[in-house]
Protein backbone atom coordinates (compact mmCIF):
# COMPACT_ATOMS: atom_id res chain seq x y z
CA UNK A 1 0.00 0.00 0.00
CA UNK A 2 1.37 3.42 -0.95
CA UNK A 3 2.00 6.18 1.60
CA UNK A 4 -0.92 8.15 0.19
CA UNK A 5 -3.31 5.20 0.43
CA UNK A 6 -2.22 4.61 4.03
CA UNK A 7 -2.88 8.24 4.89
CA UNK A 8 -6.25 8.19 3.16
CA UNK A 9 -7.19 5.14 5.19
CA UNK A 10 -6.07 6.86 8.41
CA UNK A 11 -8.23 9.89 7.67
CA UNK A 12 -11.19 7.76 6.61
CA UNK A 13 -10.94 5.85 9.90
CA UNK A 14 -10.78 9.07 11.86
CA UNK A 15 -13.80 10.60 10.19
CA UNK A 16 -16.01 7.58 9.74
CA UNK A 17 -16.92 5.59 12.83
CA UNK A 18 -18.79 2.41 11.98
CA UNK A 19 -22.57 2.70 11.75
CA UNK A 20 -23.10 -0.12 14.25
CA UNK A 21 -20.96 1.56 16.91
CA UNK A 22 -22.77 4.85 16.39
CA UNK A 23 -26.21 3.27 16.56
CA UNK A 24 -25.37 1.34 19.73
CA UNK A 25 -24.10 4.52 21.39
CA UNK A 26 -27.17 6.49 20.28
CA UNK A 27 -29.54 3.84 21.68
CA UNK A 28 -27.71 3.82 25.00
CA UNK A 29 -27.84 7.61 25.07
CA UNK A 30 -31.57 7.70 24.27
CA UNK A 31 -32.23 5.27 27.15
CA UNK A 32 -30.17 7.42 29.47
CA UNK A 33 -32.08 10.56 28.48
CA UNK A 34 -35.44 8.84 29.01
CA UNK A 35 -34.40 7.73 32.51
CA UNK A 36 -33.20 11.22 33.44
CA UNK A 37 -36.42 12.85 32.24
CA UNK A 38 -38.37 10.17 34.14
CA UNK A 39 -36.65 11.22 37.36
CA UNK A 40 -33.20 9.63 37.67
CA UNK A 41 -31.67 13.09 37.44
CA UNK A 42 -28.21 12.23 38.76
CA UNK A 43 -27.63 10.17 35.58
CA UNK A 44 -27.16 13.50 33.79
CA UNK A 45 -23.55 13.45 35.07
CA UNK A 46 -22.99 10.30 33.03
CA UNK A 47 -24.79 11.66 29.96
CA UNK A 48 -22.72 14.83 29.80
CA UNK A 49 -19.28 13.38 30.56
CA UNK A 50 -18.36 12.47 26.94
CA UNK A 51 -19.34 15.97 25.79
CA UNK A 52 -17.54 18.19 28.30
CA UNK A 53 -14.68 18.97 25.96
CA UNK A 54 -17.00 19.61 23.05
CA UNK A 55 -19.08 22.13 25.02
CA UNK A 56 -15.96 23.92 26.26
CA UNK A 57 -14.37 24.16 22.81
CA UNK A 58 -17.60 25.40 21.25
CA UNK A 59 -17.92 28.24 23.73
CA UNK A 60 -14.19 28.99 23.51
CA UNK A 61 -14.42 29.30 19.70
CA UNK A 62 -16.91 32.10 20.21
CA UNK A 63 -15.74 33.97 23.30
CA UNK A 64 -11.97 33.42 22.76
CA UNK A 65 -11.21 33.64 26.46
CA UNK A 66 -10.54 30.58 28.64
CA UNK A 67 -12.17 31.82 31.86
CA UNK A 68 -15.26 33.00 30.00
CA UNK A 69 -15.36 29.74 28.08
CA UNK A 70 -15.38 27.72 31.32
CA UNK A 71 -18.21 29.80 32.81
CA UNK A 72 -20.11 29.63 29.55
CA UNK A 73 -19.61 25.86 29.28
CA UNK A 74 -20.98 25.37 32.81
CA UNK A 75 -23.97 27.55 32.00
CA UNK A 76 -24.61 25.66 28.75
CA UNK A 77 -24.53 22.31 30.56
CA UNK A 78 -26.94 23.57 33.24
CA UNK A 79 -29.24 24.87 30.50
CA UNK A 80 -29.11 21.52 28.74
CA UNK A 81 -30.05 19.81 32.00
CA UNK A 82 -32.95 22.17 32.64
CA UNK A 83 -34.33 21.78 29.12
CA UNK A 84 -33.67 18.09 28.60
CA UNK A 85 -37.42 17.49 28.64
CA UNK A 86 -37.71 19.43 25.39
CA UNK A 87 -35.08 17.34 23.61
CA UNK A 88 -36.71 15.37 20.79
CA UNK A 89 -35.57 11.79 20.36
CA UNK A 90 -35.25 12.10 16.57
CA UNK A 91 -32.60 14.80 16.96
CA UNK A 92 -28.98 14.08 17.74
CA UNK A 93 -28.02 14.92 21.32
CA UNK A 94 -24.54 16.21 20.36
CA UNK A 95 -25.99 18.67 17.82
CA UNK A 96 -28.69 19.82 20.26
CA UNK A 97 -26.07 20.36 22.95
CA UNK A 98 -23.74 22.18 20.54
CA UNK A 99 -26.57 24.56 19.64
CA UNK A 100 -27.08 25.36 23.33
CA UNK A 101 -23.32 25.97 23.72
CA UNK A 102 -23.28 28.25 20.65
CA UNK A 103 -26.21 30.27 22.00
CA UNK A 104 -24.50 30.64 25.36
CA UNK A 105 -21.26 31.77 23.70
CA UNK A 106 -23.07 34.29 21.52
CA UNK A 107 -25.01 35.63 24.49
CA UNK A 108 -21.74 36.27 26.32
CA UNK A 109 -20.15 37.84 23.29
CA UNK A 110 -23.09 40.21 22.84
CA UNK A 111 -22.86 41.22 26.48
CA UNK A 112 -19.14 41.86 26.20
CA UNK A 113 -19.16 43.69 22.89
CA UNK A 114 -22.56 45.28 22.69
CA UNK A 115 -25.32 43.90 20.48
CA UNK A 116 -24.72 46.13 17.47
CA UNK A 117 -21.11 45.18 16.91
CA UNK A 118 -21.54 41.44 17.19
CA UNK A 119 -24.55 41.34 14.89
CA UNK A 120 -22.55 43.15 12.21
CA UNK A 121 -19.68 40.75 12.70
CA UNK A 122 -21.98 37.75 12.08
CA UNK A 123 -22.81 39.08 8.63
CA UNK A 124 -19.28 39.67 7.46
CA UNK A 125 -17.98 37.16 4.96
CA UNK A 126 -14.87 38.12 3.13
CA UNK A 127 -15.54 37.61 -0.53
CA UNK A 128 -12.09 38.58 -1.60
CA UNK A 129 -8.99 37.48 0.21
CA UNK A 130 -5.96 35.37 -0.32
CA UNK A 131 -6.84 31.76 0.33
CA UNK A 132 -3.91 30.19 -1.43
CA UNK A 133 -1.80 27.77 0.61
CA UNK A 134 1.84 28.32 1.54
CA UNK A 135 3.91 26.83 -1.28
CA UNK A 136 6.54 24.26 -0.41
CA UNK A 137 8.25 21.46 -2.23
CA UNK A 138 8.64 18.86 0.49
CA UNK A 139 7.02 18.08 3.77
CA UNK A 140 8.44 16.10 6.62
CA UNK A 141 5.58 14.84 8.79
CA UNK A 142 5.43 16.18 12.34
CA UNK A 143 4.63 13.15 14.49
CA UNK A 144 1.99 13.33 17.24
CA UNK A 145 4.71 12.84 19.86
CA UNK A 146 5.96 16.32 18.99
CA UNK A 147 2.88 17.65 20.79
CA UNK A 148 4.73 17.03 24.04
CA UNK A 149 6.49 20.28 23.18
CA UNK A 150 4.73 23.25 24.68
CA UNK A 151 5.74 25.70 21.95
CA UNK A 152 4.19 23.51 19.29
CA UNK A 153 0.85 23.27 21.13
CA UNK A 154 0.93 27.01 21.67
CA UNK A 155 1.60 27.74 18.01
CA UNK A 156 -1.32 25.54 16.96
CA UNK A 157 -3.70 27.17 19.46
CA UNK A 158 -2.54 30.64 18.46
CA UNK A 159 -3.08 29.90 14.78
CA UNK A 160 -6.64 28.65 15.43
CA UNK A 161 -7.37 31.67 17.66
CA UNK A 162 -6.16 34.04 14.94
CA UNK A 163 -8.66 32.75 12.37
CA UNK A 164 -11.53 35.14 11.57
CA UNK A 165 -14.47 34.29 13.89
CA UNK A 166 -16.73 32.77 11.26
CA UNK A 167 -13.99 30.43 10.05
CA UNK A 168 -12.84 29.45 13.55
CA UNK A 169 -16.36 28.44 14.58
CA UNK A 170 -16.82 26.14 11.61
CA UNK A 171 -13.30 24.73 12.01
CA UNK A 172 -13.87 24.01 15.71
CA UNK A 173 -17.11 22.14 15.18
CA UNK A 174 -15.94 20.18 12.17
CA UNK A 175 -12.26 19.49 12.82
CA UNK A 176 -11.88 19.64 16.60
CA UNK A 177 -15.24 18.22 17.61
CA UNK A 178 -15.60 16.04 14.53
CA UNK A 179 -19.19 16.94 13.69
CA UNK A 180 -19.92 16.31 10.03
CA UNK A 181 -20.71 19.07 7.50
CA UNK A 182 -24.49 18.71 7.90
CA UNK A 183 -24.35 18.71 11.72
CA UNK A 184 -22.03 21.74 11.70
CA UNK A 185 -24.45 23.53 9.37
CA UNK A 186 -27.43 22.67 11.57
CA UNK A 187 -25.72 23.79 14.78
CA UNK A 188 -24.56 27.11 13.31
CA UNK A 189 -27.78 27.59 11.30
CA UNK A 190 -25.86 27.84 8.06
CA UNK A 191 -26.20 26.34 4.64
CA UNK A 192 -23.92 23.25 4.18
CA UNK A 193 -22.36 24.98 1.16
CA UNK A 194 -21.32 27.93 3.33
CA UNK A 195 -19.85 25.51 5.89
CA UNK A 196 -17.73 23.87 3.18
CA UNK A 197 -16.38 27.21 1.96
CA UNK A 198 -15.56 28.41 5.48
CA UNK A 199 -13.96 25.11 6.41
CA UNK A 200 -11.81 25.16 3.30
CA UNK A 201 -10.66 28.70 3.99
CA UNK A 202 -9.97 27.96 7.65
CA UNK A 203 -7.81 24.95 6.75
CA UNK A 204 -5.90 26.87 4.08
CA UNK A 205 -5.30 29.82 6.43
CA UNK A 206 -3.94 27.44 9.08
CA UNK A 207 -1.67 25.74 6.58
CA UNK A 208 -0.40 29.10 5.40
CA UNK A 209 0.27 30.37 8.90
CA UNK A 210 1.71 27.19 10.39
CA UNK A 211 3.91 25.81 7.62
CA UNK A 212 6.79 28.28 8.12
CA UNK A 213 6.82 27.61 11.88
CA UNK A 214 6.46 23.84 11.55
CA UNK A 215 9.21 23.66 8.96
CA UNK A 216 11.54 25.34 11.42
CA UNK A 217 10.51 22.80 14.08
CA UNK A 218 11.23 19.85 11.80
CA UNK A 219 13.62 20.92 9.06
CA UNK A 220 13.91 18.59 6.09
CA UNK A 221 16.71 16.08 6.32
CA UNK A 222 19.76 17.17 4.40
CA UNK A 223 21.31 14.11 2.80
CA UNK A 224 24.59 13.77 0.96
CA UNK A 225 22.95 14.47 -2.36
CA UNK A 226 21.47 17.74 -1.28
CA UNK A 227 24.70 18.90 0.31
CA UNK A 228 26.66 18.05 -2.80
CA UNK A 229 24.40 20.21 -4.97
Amino acid sequence: MSKRQLEAEFVARRYAVSQTTMQAAATKEAELIARIVAGEKELFHELIRPYERMVYLTVLAIVKNEADAEDGAQEAVINAYRHLGSFRAEAKFSTWLTTIAINEGRKRLRKAKGAAESSIEEELEEKEGDYTPAPLTDWREIPLEALERKELREALRKAVASLPDIYRQVFTLRDLEELNIEETAEALKLNPGVVKVRLHRARILLQKQLVPFLKSVAPARKGFFRRAL
Binding site: R4, R14, I142, L147, H200, I204
Partner: protein
Amino acid sequence: MKIDCKHVWEYISEYIDGRVDPQVKEDIERHLEHCEICSAILDSTRNILILTADDRTFELPVGFSERLHERLRKEIEGSETELKKK
Protein backbone atom coordinates in the same frame (compact mmCIF):
# COMPACT_ATOMS: atom_id res chain seq x y z
CA MET B 1 -8.79 15.64 -17.52
CA LYS B 2 -5.56 17.48 -16.82
CA ILE B 3 -5.86 19.96 -13.98
CA ASP B 4 -3.48 22.66 -12.77
CA CYS B 5 -2.20 23.43 -9.26
CA LYS B 6 -4.75 26.17 -8.51
CA HIS B 7 -7.52 23.79 -9.40
CA VAL B 8 -6.12 21.19 -6.98
CA TRP B 9 -5.90 23.76 -4.17
CA GLU B 10 -9.61 24.50 -4.52
CA TYR B 11 -10.35 20.88 -3.72
CA ILE B 12 -7.87 20.32 -0.87
CA SER B 13 -10.43 20.44 1.91
CA GLU B 14 -12.98 18.22 0.22
CA TYR B 15 -10.27 15.82 -0.94
CA ILE B 16 -9.06 15.42 2.64
CA ASP B 17 -12.63 14.65 3.73
CA GLY B 18 -13.04 12.16 0.89
CA ARG B 19 -15.95 14.18 -0.50
CA VAL B 20 -14.85 14.77 -4.09
CA ASP B 21 -16.42 13.02 -7.07
CA PRO B 22 -14.54 9.90 -8.24
CA GLN B 23 -13.55 11.63 -11.50
CA VAL B 24 -12.13 14.70 -9.71
CA LYS B 25 -10.37 12.42 -7.23
CA GLU B 26 -8.70 10.60 -10.09
CA ASP B 27 -7.66 13.88 -11.74
CA ILE B 28 -6.19 15.16 -8.46
CA GLU B 29 -4.28 11.95 -7.83
CA ARG B 30 -2.85 11.96 -11.33
CA HIS B 31 -1.69 15.55 -10.74
CA LEU B 32 -0.19 14.65 -7.35
CA GLU B 33 1.92 11.90 -8.89
CA HIS B 34 4.11 14.44 -10.64
CA CYS B 35 3.59 17.68 -8.65
CA GLU B 36 5.75 17.88 -5.57
CA ILE B 37 4.34 21.28 -4.57
CA CYS B 38 0.73 20.10 -4.42
CA SER B 39 1.79 16.87 -2.70
CA ALA B 40 3.63 18.84 -0.02
CA ILE B 41 0.72 21.26 0.41
CA LEU B 42 -1.72 18.41 0.80
CA ASP B 43 0.54 16.49 3.21
CA SER B 44 1.19 19.58 5.34
CA THR B 45 -2.51 20.51 5.52
CA ARG B 46 -3.46 16.99 6.55
CA ASN B 47 -0.66 16.85 9.10
CA ILE B 48 -1.73 20.18 10.61
CA LEU B 49 -5.33 18.99 10.94
CA ILE B 50 -4.23 15.83 12.73
CA LEU B 51 -2.00 17.80 15.13
CA THR B 52 -4.69 20.41 15.86
CA ALA B 53 -7.38 17.81 16.55
CA ASP B 54 -5.24 15.98 19.12
CA ASP B 55 -6.61 16.35 22.67
CA ARG B 56 -3.24 17.65 23.88
CA THR B 57 -3.44 20.75 21.69
CA PHE B 58 -6.62 22.11 23.24
CA GLU B 59 -6.60 20.83 26.80
CA LEU B 60 -9.41 21.49 29.21
CA PRO B 61 -8.41 23.84 32.06
CA VAL B 62 -7.10 21.94 35.11
CA GLY B 63 -10.02 20.97 37.38
CA PHE B 64 -12.61 21.86 34.72
CA SER B 65 -14.50 18.60 35.00
CA GLU B 66 -14.59 18.63 38.83
CA ARG B 67 -15.93 22.19 38.91
CA LEU B 68 -18.53 21.42 36.27
CA HIS B 69 -19.86 18.33 38.05
CA GLU B 70 -19.90 20.12 41.39
CA ARG B 71 -22.06 22.88 39.93
CA LEU B 72 -24.26 20.29 38.25
CA ARG B 73 -24.63 18.38 41.53
CA LYS B 74 -25.88 21.53 43.26
CA GLU B 75 -28.29 22.18 40.38
CA ILE B 76 -29.67 18.63 40.44
CA GLU B 77 -30.08 18.63 44.21
CA GLY B 78 -31.76 22.00 44.12
CA SER B 79 -34.15 21.23 41.28
CA GLU B 80 -37.25 19.64 42.64
CA THR B 81 -39.48 20.48 39.73
CA GLU B 82 -39.72 18.36 36.59
CA LEU B 83 -37.32 19.04 33.74
CA LYS B 84 -38.82 21.70 31.52
CA LYS B 85 -40.74 20.67 28.44
CA LYS B 86 -40.02 24.22 27.15
